[in-house]
């Protein structure tokens, strides 16, 4: 089947009007060497059979809803009200709001999203979203380099390893250099930043889950004329001091923790917030309030001179499609919870993670690694290779013990807990871990 409405008669009438004898005729001006290649694809299926096939594939997976996995993606409750509202066809099937008169829904929702991200991060402006946390970081750092006119970046090892890999890819492209600051005792060391560095990057809570006081790093960066780019889990900002309050100039992160489905890693959305003074260097879309011809309040894409379809090769970034719908879901989640609800969800995860930490440390051979205080993820040193521990746990029906890259040390595994967990879930994991590590 397909989704075309044409009847055979209509096709014939239309072909006649355009002077073609058949559908094949529409392609007769293409070089014959490339026309009608042999392509091997499975036979088309009726709708029910496609769904059946998808269910078969889905059945080969073990959902990780109540997982103990973290590392930038966590299982949180996606409120049905958010799912239902974001599924409305008008939001789902619209494009970038180039015609603001009929796009006030997306535009106003984006303006509200920008406001919520600015509030969470303690910074003045946020753009309409980036692809994910990692690309938001890369673009945030490029913004800092444009602003400072420098080409050197220092990044803490506490920043998610995959984010650092993406950052490296982007920086190599423009010929900027990247230096990694190794963690000391699980935290970013206090360092002097030399002139020439344009951006210093750190994450709080960091990849190991530890809380860091980044104010001294912000001061060191500012003394050298550099900007501090902070990576922060937006859910944590319901409780933790916002990046703007400890001196960050740019804050970035991934919005998945704001009630978005994990989706095997995407789509989520990246957020990017900064000071109003830097707004003309910002990548991506921005929505501004304005008035219409009758003086009525309305919303419109603004400062488009930064963008690729106006400035082409001189644009601030090539980003066009961002992550509007998922960012909208993040905003709906924030609005559904409000400041109190957000704080409750965040703290519930904190409490569960600390309880899990205690329980797992009761197992012989398991040692702490993430220094306290931590948020709702932490790393432990296991007496066995984490890869085999994760596999053995998976065989027992548990998703836990994400192997931590060797750059941080040997036999390290990451654990997380959220508002979804109950005491009995933690005890069940403890029992399974005992078995696996025995």
């Amino acid at each position: 089947m397909d989704y075309t409405p044409h009847t055979e008669e209509e096709i014939q009438a239309m072909l006649e009007r355009v002077g073609a004898g058949s559908l094949e005729d529409l392609y007769r001006h293409l070089p014959k060497e490339v026309l009608n290649p042999e392509i091997s694809l499975p036979e088309p299926l009726p709708e029910w059979a496609v769904l059946e096939e998808l269910k078969r594939l889905a059945g080969k997976n073990k959902p990780a809803f109540k997982a103990f996995l973290g590392g930038g993606v966590r299982g949180h409750h996606t409120p049905p009200v958010v799912q239902a509202l974001a599924s409305r066809g008008e939001f789902l099937t619209a494009y970038t709001p180039y015609q603001p008169e009929v796009s006030q829904g997306v535009l106003q929702a984006t303006f509200e999203y920008q406001t919520m991200i600015a509030e969470l991060t303690g910074l003045e402006v946020a753009n309409a979203s980036m692809y994910d946390g990692a690309t938001a970081l890369a673009e945030g750092v490029l913004l800092a380099l444009r602003e400072t006119g420098r080409m050197e970046v220092w990044v803490s090892q506490g920043v998610h390893p995959e984010y650092r890999q993406v950052l490296l890819t982007y920086l190599e492209a423009v010929g900027a250099s990247l230096r990694t600051l190794p963690l000391e005792g699980g935290r970013t060391p206090a360092v002097e930043v030399p002139e020439g560095v344009g951006a210093v990057v750190a994450q709080n809570p960091n990849f190991l889950g530890a809380l860091e006081d980044l104010a001294p790093l912000a001061e060191a960066a500012h003394r050298a004329g550099a900007l501090l780019v902070a990576v922060a889990d937006p859910l944590s900002l319901g409780v933790l001091k916002p990046p703007g309050a400890y001196g960050a100039d740019i804050a970035v992160g991934d919005g998945q923790t704001l009630g978005l489905p994990m989706g095997f890693g995407g789509p989520h959305f990246g957020y990017l917030a900064t000071k109003k003074a830097f707004v003309r260097q910002m990548p991506g879309r921005l929505v501004s309030e304005t008035v219409d011809a009758e003086g009525k309040r309305g919303y419109i894409l603004t400062l488009q001179a930064r963008e690729q379809y106006i400035r082409r090769a001189k644009a601030k970034s090539n980003i066009t499609t961002n992550a509007q719908l998922t960012a909208l879901m993040g905003a709906m989640y924030l609005a559904a919870l409000g400041p109190e609800g957000l704080k409750e969800v965040a703290l519930s995860g904190v409490a569960m993670a600390h309880r899990l930490w205690e329980l797992l440390l009761e197992i012989p051979g398991v040692e702490p690694f993430t220094p306290k205080p931590f948020f709702n993820e932490f790393v432990l040193r296991l007496p066995k290779e984490p890869q085999t521990v994760r596999e053995a746990l998976a065989a027992r029906g548990f998703h836990a013990a994400t192997p931590v890259p060797k750059e941080y040390g040997e036999n390290l595994a990451l654990f997380a807990a959220t508002e979804l967990h109950r005491e009995e879930d933690l005890l069940a994991l403890q029992a399974a871990m005992r078995e696996v590590l025995a």
Binding site: D2, L41, P100, E101, E124, V166, P267, A315, A335, G341
Partner: protein, 474 residues
């Protein structure tokens, strides 16, 4: 009256969702100095207020589900409802769960990769890029790594882009550290071959083309272009934004392209979501496979796995495995249609465009490059009419307008892409509307639209005094 903001519906103490039974004291776990002092000023609303707010916003928004949306080069085709259910089946997978517990997801990715390779005629693929422009960046970085590996990284510093190209092409090349040179289009709307020949040489890294191009015309001399590129050691990049027209009928790989990006949200019916998320897989010929971003999805003896072992890889371009739930939707689309359905969809997108083009010509619109158009075409209004006014007039008549003022080489351009999922009567009604607009008084057109949620907005004010958040006092 203005539509209220969610912040204006907020009342201190009003509560929506409670997801937690009891909340522990923060300071029990986190020292005071790490805690935020002032709570973020998020809205405080109950669930019904939330539902009414966003439902109201959705009614101030048009999409393909509500309105004909013939936005050129954006391929706003119908997004099947099946796909939303399909995506939900995979929502609760974590990217770091053990691969043995995600074999179905990896199998789906591997299969989709095979389908896309077959449809593009490429040898290897990455599904990681999150959007078309992100795919462009990935593709150009792959080309860059290839030249560097061959010791030509320092000499090949230029990327050639036709003057009709999407703006993202030059922006991408520039993000990858390249200089950009425009190649003019000829009088027939296709790349000027002589001009291209003059630019080609050992200093050129890549040519970025879309075929059909943004005038909706198939570059008939494409085999000559790819031969010239090959002779000059230049890599040919295919911008997949316009693949919908030729899907199943002709493949970029057979035309001589070395790299292809796809826009799954255009050609393969993943909803655009008001501006994303999209998905931009990149296919390459065998000589470029070693440079793909990590990880790739492979099939081994013990099942499907993520391969990180690509020593020449450009690195990562995104976290985790890309926009996986977009991949599920594209997979469902390809399995529903199969090759015959995909070819029919492509052919009907072309037929719809040609039919609409004839209808518009009969209404007095001009088509400056009137070759055999593919899935889209660029029209011009008669003298004295502005594309912008016609676009706003269309809004008043209940249609989403075409892309206006693009491509830049056509004055007052209206770039129309009806797509295959629109019926003959919709096309006829649209042509009627565009015809009717030419009979409206100038005054009426200049002030349209009238009955939309807001009238024409003051763009200048937004630029001079942007107000970017609710709490921004300016």
């Amino acid at each position: 009256m203005s539509y209220p903001l969610i912040f204006e519906r907020s009342r201190p103490g009003r509560r929506g969702l409670r997801l937690v039974k009891e909340t522990p004291e923060a300071t029990r776990y986190i020292p005071e100095k790490f805690l935020r002092k002032d709570p973020p000023r998020l809205p405080e609303v109950d669930e019904l207020t939330l539902v009414r707010h966003y439902t109201g916003l959705s009614r101030r928004q048009v999409g393909v589900d509500t309105t004909f949306y013939p936005l050129g080069s954006c391929t706003m085709k119908y997004n099947p409802k099946l796909h939303e259910e399909a995506a939900r089946l995979f929502a609760d997978l974590h990217p770091y769960q053990d691969p043995s517990t995600a074999q179905g997801a990896l199998e789906l990715m591997w299969e989709l990769g095979e389908y896309l390779k077959a449809l593009t005629g490429m040898d290897a693929i990455t599904l990681e890029p999150a959007a078309g422009a992100h795919g462009e960046l990935t593709g150009i970085l792959i080309i860059r790594a290839y030249h560097q590996d061959r010791g030509e990284g320092k000499t090949r510093r230029l990327v050639l882009v036709p003057d009709s190209a999407h703006g993202s092409n030059p922006a991408t090349a520039s993000m990858a550290g390249y200089q950009v040179k425009e190649v003019p289009s000829g009088p027939d709307g296709e790349v000027d071959l002589e001009a291209l020949k003059r630019e080609l040489g050992p200093h050129v890294a890549a040519i970025m083309l879309t075929n059909p191009n943004t005038l909706g015309l198939f570059e008939r001399r494409i085999l000559e272009i790819s031969r010239l590129a090959k002779e000059a050691g230049v890599q040919l990049y295919y911008d997949g934004a316009n693949l919908n027209a030729v899907m199943g009928w002709a493949r970029p790989g057979d035309m001589g392209f070395d790299v292809v990006h796809l826009n799954l949200h255009k050609t393969f019916t993943v909803p655009h979501g008001g501006g994303g998320p999209g998905s931009g897989p990149v296919g390459v010929k065998a000589h470029l496979a070693p440079y793909l971003p990590v990880p790739t999805v492979e099939r081994g003896e013990e099942g499907f796995y993520l391969n990180f072992d690509l020593p020449k890889s450009i690195g990562r371009v995104r976290s985790f495995h890309g926009n996986f739930l977009a991949l599920v939707r594209a997979w469902a689309y390809i399995r529903t249609l199969g090759l015959p359905g995909l070819k029919k969809a492509a052919a009907l997108s072309v037929l719809n465009a040609r039919y609409l083009k004839e209808l518009l010509k009969a209404k007095g619109y001009r088509v400056p490059y009137d070759g055999p158009c593919m899935h889209e075409f660029v029209a011009q209004p008669p003298q004295g009419f502005r594309a912008l006014d016609l676009a706003k007039g269309l809004l008043e008549l209940g249609f989403h307008p075409p892309t206006v003022y693009f491509p830049l080489i056509v004055k007052e351009a209206l770039m129309v892409e009806p797509t295959e999922t629109e019926s003959k009567e919709t096309l006829e009604a649209f042509a009627e509307a565009l015809g009717e607009l030419l009979k409206k008084p100038k005054e009426w057109l200049e002030h349209a639209p009238y009955s939309t949620p807001v009238r024409r907005l003051d763009e200048l004010l937004a630029n001079k005094h942007p107000r970017l958040t609710y709490f921004d006092e300016g």
